[in-house]
Symmetry: C2
Subunit: 353 residues, 2 copies
């Protein structure tokens, strides 16, 4: 989808409707009729009835499971906020395409596909299997001014929407977010600070594993970015453009499109949650379609959950990104869907209620 | 395995050795060489290296995955401690054999088998597919005296060992515990109270969902059981016999045999943890082989974890038992094993360290 103006986005946002809440009750009625004490499958029942509400049926079908891993580079990497060289973004994209990365292994484990999208890698890439939708070879340095122009941010959101749309038209009924972009915990922390109104020290963590000195420097860089961009932080779209990244914008767009198409979307970790937060602030109905996969070990993710009053499905101390948490959580969500579809009722099994 | 005396058990306990701890380091060295920041897969890495240590290799193989669901009835059910009729134990065994229960659905989801073992159901059962190893048609009422004679408890432990041994000789390299037995949160809570030295009010919960009056009654029944059996609560075996159940004893035996055979065992929920606690108190080396699948919503399970300084893999507010939590956790453990086996190293992928 090509988004060329704020108005294009506004039209799409209006098309995002809440789920049918009555279906939550109908799904629970079926769950309560299965051979188990009421509510005894806890979170699996919550997941199952939410999928039912999204699909408007008590016989849900997850179809193809697809993780969209968006890759992009960040101008702010030049500030030395990460311990990893910038070229690793490109190298890891190649690793994704060869199937050797964490997200590939975990996606295979749960029967999901990984689509890899170049939305802004700072290198020429034309590898087989790569979805090439580069907006630009990396964002500008957010510590010196806006990371993206508004039109660039809209274009990246459009890439996310378009790719999600393609997965959905090819039969996906649950999508997972994923990302790769050296330095991208920095724009994510900046977005959380600006959009949630929390302190930079609180929300900023060690990313791939930086030392104390680099962490302090990263905090200072983010503070500088918030100060220099302070006139651009009006509303979620402008804030995304000023502080975000192409992959974060694409994740935002992908989540919006899933919600618009009434398809479940599993949000990966810290960086994906930054994209989700923008989507939620653009249109609150998005919440009905989002599943938050896990609590990242990255400091600050806990604050995101607390501020939004949300709970993640898993808490496995992971902090790899790529879509790894989304993949694992898809397996749990699918377990819930199988419970409602495959368990015997009391009547079928001849079990006394 | 036929256990006819305490000495038979003592001999087996001596054969349980700790894992090779050096292998934990070798496994971590391989994990640190995979294309991800060090430690960034958190708990998945912990699970992977523990499996490596158990199997004494950095290329582990989970082989067949088998859940052993032991069913038995409880004399204490006559005290009205459960809201569910006792015949439901038998009915649910039939449901397991037909594949319609929660554990069947979740085991299929993770590619595990469910073996159903009658170790003490209070009904004649000869259904196809059932492993018939009945010690007796239900325990005696623990509120009136010992639930089992020592020899009965030994026999049930032997059933668990024998069944685990059979699964292992047929290629299982990871086993999950499971159980069915109406009223069995009562003996489990009694065992926790006696073996952990915690208060009955603290450890006793609502099981399938009893009301306040029944909960108070259940607490009173357990206190009566602890009082009347007070001369029998010397050491884990005698305490198990006095307060436990045939399925709990079988789970204890199954865990002992897994440890003896150096095979990973995934402990399900509240009731399975009671069996695991007896095994751990009989032989502390057992801890190296146990994976605690999830934190049950049953009040008291949290206390078990706190007292033992352990953390569960999942926290999904489940309280169904049967092996449902073990099944889901097997999927997570297998994810960790695939990470160490299938991810590319930095060198293979050409990624800068």
């Amino acid at each position: 989808m090509v988004l060329t103006s704020r108005d294009d986005l506004a039209v799409l946002l209006q098309e995002i409707q809440p789920v049918n809440r009555l279906m939550l009750e109908q799904a629970q009625a079926r769950l309560d009729n299965l051979t188990k004490p009421r509510g005894s499958l806890g979170e699996l029942e919550v997941l199952a009835r939410r999928i039912c509400a999204i699909q408007n049926t008590i016989r849900p079908d997850l179809g193809r499971k697809v993780i969209l891993t968006f890759a992009a580079d960040h101008g702010v990497a030049e500030e030395g906020v990460s311990s990893v060289p910038r070229d690793v973004t490109r190298q890891m994209v190649v690793n994704f395409l060869r199937g050797g990365a964490g997200v590939n292994v975990l996606a295979r484990h749960v029967g999901a596909e990984v689509w890899v999208i170049d939305v802004g890698v700072a290198a020429e890439m034309n590898e087989k299997g790569l979805v090439s939708r580069k907006v630009k070879a990396g964002t500008a340095n957010l510590a010196k001014g806006p990371a993206m122009e508004i039109n660039e941010a809209l274009q990246a959101i459009g890439v996310g929407m378009e790719t999600a749309r393609e997965a959905i038209s090819n039969g996906a009924r649950i999508l997972g977010t994923g990302e790769m972009g050296i330095a991208n915990t920095t724009p994510s922390a900046a977005l959380f600070a600006a959009l949630l109104g929390v302190g930079v020290e609180e929300i900023t963590g060690r990313g791939t594993g930086i030392d104390d000195a680099t962490l302090n420097h990263k905090i200072e860089v983010i503070k500088r970015g918030l100060e220099i961009n302070k006139d651009h932080l009006q509303g979620p779209l402008d804030t995304l453009a000023a502080l975000g990244g192409f992959e974060i914008a694409a994740i935002c767009g992908m989540i919006l499109e899933c919600a618009r198409s009434r398809v479940a979307v599993v949000v990966d970790g810290f960086i994906s949650s930054a994209g989700a937060l923008v989507a939620l602030q653009l249109q609150q109905n998005v919440a009905d379609y989002c599943f938050f996969s896990h609590m990242s070990a990255e400091q600050g993710h806990r604050i995101f959950f607390e501020k939004l009053g949300l709970s993640p499905i898993l808490n496995l101390d992971m902090r790899l990104g790529e879509g790894t948490g989304a993949a694992l959580a898809m397996g749990i969500i699918e377990a819930g869907v199988k419970i409602i579809n495959e368990m015997a009722t009391f009547a079928e099994a001849g079990v006394s209620v």
